[in-house]
């Protein structure tokens, strides 16, 4: 081949001076990435690997050694160049582009440097020694660039990771001023696009991140509408998330703040407002002076205040919560009483036969004729009929992630024979952005609380009605008194239990917790706090109303069931005996004026006959031993149940330090009746 002729000139044949000139020229070529005559590129390597060079063996040994001092530059140079070429393409992200830009700037300087050296060489005053001397700073520079390039290549870094890497390098090279400066230069340029994204995010709440580099990741498919429907929706947690490995080290501390800043702004944005942060300034990276942290913090406090004001003032979060409370937690109970009166028939029907519209209308009637009429949000209250009762729902929720999960799941998911009472629940229309706070999840918790309270109220009501009926019977049934008194005592016990339990829930659980939350809300400085306070409130309420402990819950539901079945039994009895008497005596019209003498006489006569009849009936009934046994049975079961509940509560409050629960003891067993009972039974056992 004709071209190989140069190689045929052996270096040994010429003087060392001439050799030196040739070597310098070759070196200059090699440095600018061109293969020389005497120094060749080691062939057959992978393209990414560092280039190695072959020095002609005939070269003067000292010259060869001198060359070896310079050659690392060339290999670094080639690494850097291939790095730039590769990472400039779009998919590697903007930080890579910016870094390449910075490297290119340095490479340009380097080439100018080379051109000057070349010039000097042509003028004949560039001995090898001088070249080596002049290139000394470059050796380090190129080495740094190459090491950065290899590190990024190896780690497949993009975005924040690159910035972290560079930042760490700066910290690691504080002693070496030149290296530090170079790193700072690279970092500053490389962080420009990242900082632009950051500005967009914390000043406007927009993500402009086509290559997935920014620390905040947006999941478009999680939309805010789901908040209203999906029970498990995590809009607030999952719509925007931090991507740990994309956070530059120097933003690590403020990452959460950055995330929430943008999130707040986004919410404001979604409410149809335009956000413009007055203090928006360019954020510039600097290694030591952490101005950007301050800027980010300012933006954060602005955004959180903005959103908090929006929620609190514009959307009246507190009033909203109050409204929710007044319905779900029976704050203003008159509407519920009214509603229960109105829907007595419906509540007893099977769920399938209930016309939801009718219930809805009745609810509205109840709302408008009660205190709730003053609530501006009352129209948002709805009813819903769920196809599972509270206990099933709770057990199912509680059994998640426990051993029983499979068992519970395998049970038939829909009970078909639910009554209206069991399937009834309130619902509430919440609109964006309040749905952030009152999401489906928290609304479900409210619903559970409501159903619980509602059921208790129902039990109480039922018992009270029967109590009243029997009270009026009392004047007729004198003969069967002992049995009768026994029955009433059991009922009184039950009433005592249910009323005190309700009292406990309302005044020792809901009200204090509510007050705490209210206080906290007023002092909240950002929306995350608000969310936390609200969640805490609900959690505490559920827990103290015994809804989170499966065991307690089972006991409680059994107690309530006992009450209901006893009330039903008594009602049956009452209907058999003196239904007519009760209804008649109650129905004296006051419109007709005071009863005349004749009417009075007639009335007393009637009462006498009724008394006679009922007494007969009652004696019949009561004398049969099965009734007496039944009542006694009820009493024993009830007492046992209640005692085991109390036991359990005492145990839990002792063991787990939940002192609120202990108040139940004080309420239900204020005079130590059951305690002494317990002791007695223990004694008996012993």
């Amino acid at each position: 081949k004709p071209r190989t002729q140069h190689l045929t000139i052996p270096l040994t044949n010429i003087s060392v001076q001439r050799q030196e000139q040739n070597v310098v020229k070759d070196l200059l070529a090699i440095l600018s990435g061109v293969e020389g005559h005497h120094i060749l590129v080691h062939p057959g390597e992978e393209t990414n690997a560092q280039k190695r060079f072959i020095i002609e063996p005939t070269m003067d040994v000292s010259l060869a050694e001198m060359s070896n001092m310079i050659l690392p530059i060339a290999s670094s140079y080639s690494t850097v160049i291939s790095f730039i070429e590769e990472k400039s393409s779009f998919e590697y992200g903007q930080v890579n582009h910016a870094l390449c830009f910075a490297m290119k700037n340095i490479i340009r300087e380097y080439q100018i440097n080379l051109a000057q050296l070349d010039d000097q060489f042509r003028h004949g005053d560039l001995p090898l020694q001088r070249l080596v001397f002049l290139l000394q700073p470059v050796v380090q520079q190129m080495d740094i660039l190459a090491s950065v390039a290899t590190a990024i290549d190896l780690g497949h870094c993009t975005g924040g990771a690159i910035l972290s890497l560079l930042h760490n390098r700066i910290s690691a090279s504080v002693g070496d001023k030149a290296a530090e400066q170079l790193y700072v230069y690279l970092t500053q340029l490389a962080s420009i696009p990242y900082m632009e994204m950051l500005e967009k995010w914390i000043y406007k709440g927009e993500t402009m991140d086509p290559y997935g580099e920014f620390l905040v990741e947006e999941k478009e498919k999680i939309s805010k509408e789901q908040l209203l429907e999906d029970y498990n929706d995590q809009y607030w947690e999952s719509r925007y998330t931090l991507c740990r490995d994309r956070i530059p080290v120097y933003l690590e501390q403020v990452a959460e703040k950055i995330l929430s800043t943008g999130k707040y702004l986004n919410v404001v944005h979604e409410c149809g407002r335009t956000v413009s942060y007055p203090g928006a300034r360019e954020i510039i990276y600097s290694h030591n002076r952490r101005e950007y942290v301050q800027q980010i913090e300012q933006a954060h406090s602005y955004a959180s205040k903005l959103l908090l004001d929006l929620l609190m003032q514009e959307y009246n979060l507190e009033a909203r919560l109050k409204s929710v409370k007044s319905y779900f937690l029976l704050n203003e109970g008159d509407f519920l009483l009214h509603f229960m009166d109105l829907t007595e028939k419906e509540m007893r029907m099977p769920m399938q036969d209930i016309i939801p519209n009718r219930l809805e209308a009745l609810l509205e009637l109840a709302l408008r004729t009660s205190l709730a009429d003053h609530d501006v949000y009352k129209d948002d209250l709805k009813i819903v009929l769920l196809n599972y009762d509270l206990i099933t729902q709770l057990v199912r929720i509680l059994s998640i992630d426990t051993v029983e999960e499979q068992v519970v799941k395998s049970l038939d998911p829909t009970e078909l024979n639910l009554t209206g009472l069991e399937s009834f629940a309130l619902d509430y229309t919440v609109r964006w952005p309040l749905s952030l706070v009152i999401s489906r999840k928290s609304l479900t918790k409210y619903q559970m609380l409501f159903r619980h309270l509602f059921y208790c109220k129902h039990v109480e009501r039922h018992l009270s009605t029967i109590w009243m009926k029997f009270k009026s019977l009392k004047m007729h049934v004198l003969h069967s008194k002992p049995w009768f008194l026994k029955a009433l005592t059991v009922m009184q016990k039950m009433l005592h239990f249910i009323q005190n339990f309700e009292y406990y829930m309302m005044f020792e659980v809901l009200e204090p917790n509510w007050l705490t939350m209210e206080k906290n809300l007023n002092s909240a400085s950002n929306v995350d706090d608000v969310l936390d306070f609200h969640a805490d409130f609900l959690k505490q309420c559920l827990q103290d109303c015994l809804l989170t402990n499966t065991e307690l819950l089972r006991m409680l539901s059994k107690l309530l069931m006992l009450c209901i079945s006893y009330a039903n039994y008594m009602q049956d009895l009452c209907r058999q005996v003196g239904g007519f008497a009760v209804s008649d005596s109650l129905e004296h019209s006051t419109l007709a004026g005071p009863p005349t003498a004749q009417e009075k006489r007639h009335e007393s006569g009637r009462i006498a006959t009724i008394t006679k009849e009922t007494t007969l009936h009652f004696d019949d009934l009561a004398s049969s031993p099965e009734h007496l046994g039944l009542v006694q049975n009820y009493e024993v079961t009830f007492t046992n149940c209640l005692m085991s509940l109390l036991n359990r509560v005492a145990f839990i409050s002792r063991e787990q330090g939940q002192h609120c629960l202990f108040n139940i003891m004080h309420k239900l067993d204020y005079n130590g009746f059951y305690q002494s009972h317990m002791k007695d039974s223990e004694d008996v056992q012993e």
Binding site: P2, S32, G36, H97, A98, L114, A115, D118, D119, P210
Partner: protein, 681 residues
């Protein structure tokens, strides 16, 4: 330098045997300058095989220089690539304005590049002339000089590659996509190009939103016009959005707004013949434009957004003003409400009075000329006469298509003629909807009217008949009860229609009209209004079943009317016969003859008995059948209403059945059904 030359010459000598031409570095540099412009030089030719510039193989060049030259040659290749694009597309007339702008931008970049080359050239010349001896141009220096241009051309070439077969908005989008780089120098280049490239688009937008002129000879704008569409359908069909041509920096909603603005202007000009206010608008816009001519920042379209918003509010408001003031949109809508939706009660009542007879005829015996008189008379006699003359001339009636068996009632309909531009709001399709609603309302009205007539008839007849025919009393009573039931039904229906449907929807519509900012919103509001009416008047598809029920209830009322007539006829006949007999009896009594002859008396008694024993029970049975059928229908109707999702319809069912009279019937029947089913099992 001396040494180098010496070495070179030595090499040359040693290589002399191979008789290769020697090319020294200065020569190469000189040749490179040509290559940089894509021109092949003496030793550096373009090789199509490798698609690159190559040094001749048969010349003698230092190996190192050869590599350096090769590297530098890429610049020439890039240059050619861009140049080729410019050349091939400059002649292409179909490329469009954006393409032209793109070429111009590229040309500008190349010019910048040429300037550099000329500087280099002049350096060489200076050396040739002997000045500045120590500053000759070497290949390494050339590499330094071309470092930046190389990056630039590479970037642009990539851009060109990607924009190869794009045009218009798509091209702008592509250039905009290149803005997404972190490299600030490349971004600066892209911004420069984007600025030029987007100018035509902004220009077109400007023309479009100021003058409504669609200056788009090359179909590159994102609004497309269909020139075949006539003015009546201009608003709906003429303009549409070309999805692919929306530049990526303009959002979809913004594009829609732009479309709307231009459309409004065109509508004003072509349909409303209005040109007044637009000039002023344009003046405003152009001064704005001058201020912001060259300052598109990073938020590229922020300025545009402001302008579009302003143009949108201005044109929207103007168009609505023109429609309101000049074309009396509200007056005509009111007129439609008054006549087609029976808002003008006295007029309708009068019309019913006048047409009663005519419309009872079979439909094929109806003639327009017979009807126009009564309609005119009704207008004159009622408050409708104080309407705008314009409105009254537009009021008309039409006879719908005749189906066999139809009566006049079924085919008569009022009509209202509209001119452009209002027929864009109320298109023939919309008019048909109005007519359908009218027919529904008209039928309900007629039922009310008929029942009122029946009621009067009843009062009159029962006064007359009851004293003479005591046995008839129960029949009459049954008739009254049924009639009262029907009156209740029809009145509640009327109430529902008048207050819950018409009045509420109308109020909604009015408030929406007031809040509307552009014509599209007006159209949407009107559409929603009609849809609401259709839904609540049971005219939409989903409630066709309900409508049928209602229809059959009405038919039952008509049947009842006939039945009632029949009963009265029979009874009147009987009464007259009796009266005649009594009169004769009296007559003969007066003459002194006591009693009748036995035969006549027998006959009289027989007839009376027959009336009592057969005719009256027959009547009663017929009435009962009628009542039963009617009640069944109502129950069915109510049951279906209760299932309806619209709360208003459910309310209607409560209204009709306020004391649960029908409900109890319904449950009773269902109970008996289920009971029988149970026993059956």
């Amino acid at each position: 330098l001396e040494g180098d030359h010496g070495r070179k010459s030595k090499h040359a000598k040693s290589a002399h045997l191979l008789t290769k031409e020697q090319v020294n570095e200065a020569n190469l540099v000189r040749q490179m300058l040509y290559v940089f412009q894509g021109i092949p030089s003496k030793n550096i030719k373009h090789s199509t095989r490798e698609n690159a510039f190559c040094l001749d193989n048969n010349i003698e060049v230092d190996k190192r220089d050869r590599q350096a030259v090769h590297r530098l040659c890429e610049l020439g290749w890039l240059h050619n690539r861009i140049k080729k694009y410019i050349d091939s597309h400059n002649k292409d007339k179909a490329l469009g304005l954006v393409g032209q702008a793109f070429c111009a931008a590229l040309q500008q970049e190349l010019t910048e590049y040429y300037r550099l080359l000329s500087v280099l050239q002049s350096q060489i010349q200076q050396i040739d002339a002997g000045f500045e001896d120590n500053c000759i141009l070497t290949l390494p220096k050339l590499a330094v000089w071309t470092f930046e241009p190389y990056e630039r051309l590479k970037w642009i070439a990539a851009l060109v590659d990607n924009c190869e077969d794009k045009k218009g908005g798509a091209l702008t989008s592509m250039v905009h996509a290149f803005m997404q780089t972190g490299d600030s120098s490349s971004r600066a280049i892209t911004r420069r190009i984007l600025h030029i490239v987007s100018q035509p688009i902004f220009h077109i937008i400007d023309k479009w939103i100021c003058d409504g002129e669609l200056y788009d000879p090359f179909h590159e704008f994102f609004v497309a016009a269909d020139l075949t569409v006539r003015n009546e359908r201009l608003w709906y069909d003429k303009y549409r959005i070309r999805q692919s041509m929306i530049p990526s920096f303009i959002k979809m909603e913004q594009a829609e707004k732009i479309l709307l603005v231009g459309k409004s202007i065109n509508f004003l000009r072509l349909v409303c013949q209005d040109r007044t206010k637009l000039l002023q608008d344009r003046l405003q816009m152009s001064t704005d434009g001058a201020v912001n001519e060259d300052g598109y920042g990073l938020d590229f379209a922020a300025d545009l957004q402001v302008r579009v918003r302003r143009a949108h509010t201005a044109t929207g408001a103007h168009l609505l003003n023109v429609l309101r003031d000049q074309f009396k949109m509200l007056t005509h809508l009111h007129a439609l409400r008054k006549f087609l939706l029976l808002g003008q009660g006295d007029f309708i009542r009068h019309l019913l009075d006048l047409l009663q007879e005519e419309l009872s005829k079979p439909a094929n015996l109806l003639y327009r000329h017979n009807l126009s008189g009564p309609v005119e008379a009704a207008v004159r006699a009622s408050n409708a006469q104080f309407e705008d003359a314009d409105v009254l001339t537009r009021l008309d009636f039409r006879l719908l298509e005749i189906n066999p068996g139809d009566f006049g009632w079924d085919v008569f309909s009022l009509d209202y003629h509209l001119d452009p531009p209002l027929n864009t709001l109320i298109t023939p399709d919309v008019m048909l909807v109005y007519l359908r609603i009218f027919i529904f309302l008209w039928r309900a009205k007629r039922m009310e009217y008929n029942l009122a007539l029946i009621w009067t008839g009843m009062m009159e007849q029962s006064r007359r008949l009851a004293p003479v025919l005591p046995h008839l009393q129960s029949v009459l009573h049954n008739g009254h009860v049924l009639a009262a039931e029907m009156v209740h039904f029809v009145h509640q229906m009327q109430y529902y229609i008048a207050f819950e449907v018409l009045e509420c929807s109308w109020a909604d519509f009015q408030s929406k009209l007031k809040a509307a900012k552009d014509f599209d919103e007006v159209i949407a509001a009107h559409h929603a209004f009609l849809e609401c009416l259709m839904k609540r008047c049971l005219l939409d598809e989903s409630s066709s079943n309900l409508l049928m029920q209602l229809r059959s209830i009405y038919d039952q009322i008509v049947k009842f009317e006939l039945l009632q007539k029949d009963i009265y006829q029979q009874s009147t006949f009987e009464m007259e016969a009796r009266e005649k007999y009594d009169a004769r009896l009296k007559d003969s009594e007066n003459k002194g003859v006591l009693g009748m002859d036995a035969e006549k008396e027998e006959e009289e008694i027989k007839r009376r008995r027959e009336f009592r024993k057969t005719t009256i029970p027959g009547m009663r049975a017929r009435l009962r059948v009628c009542a039963c059928a009617y009640q069944d229908m109502v129950v069915k109707f109510l049951r279906q209403l209760g299932k309806e999702s619209d709360a208003n319809l459910r309310n209607l069912s409560w209204r009709l059945d306020f004391n649960e009279h029908y409900c109890s019937k319904d449950s009773a029947s269902r109970y008996s059904q289920s009971g029988s089913r149970k026993t059956g099992r």
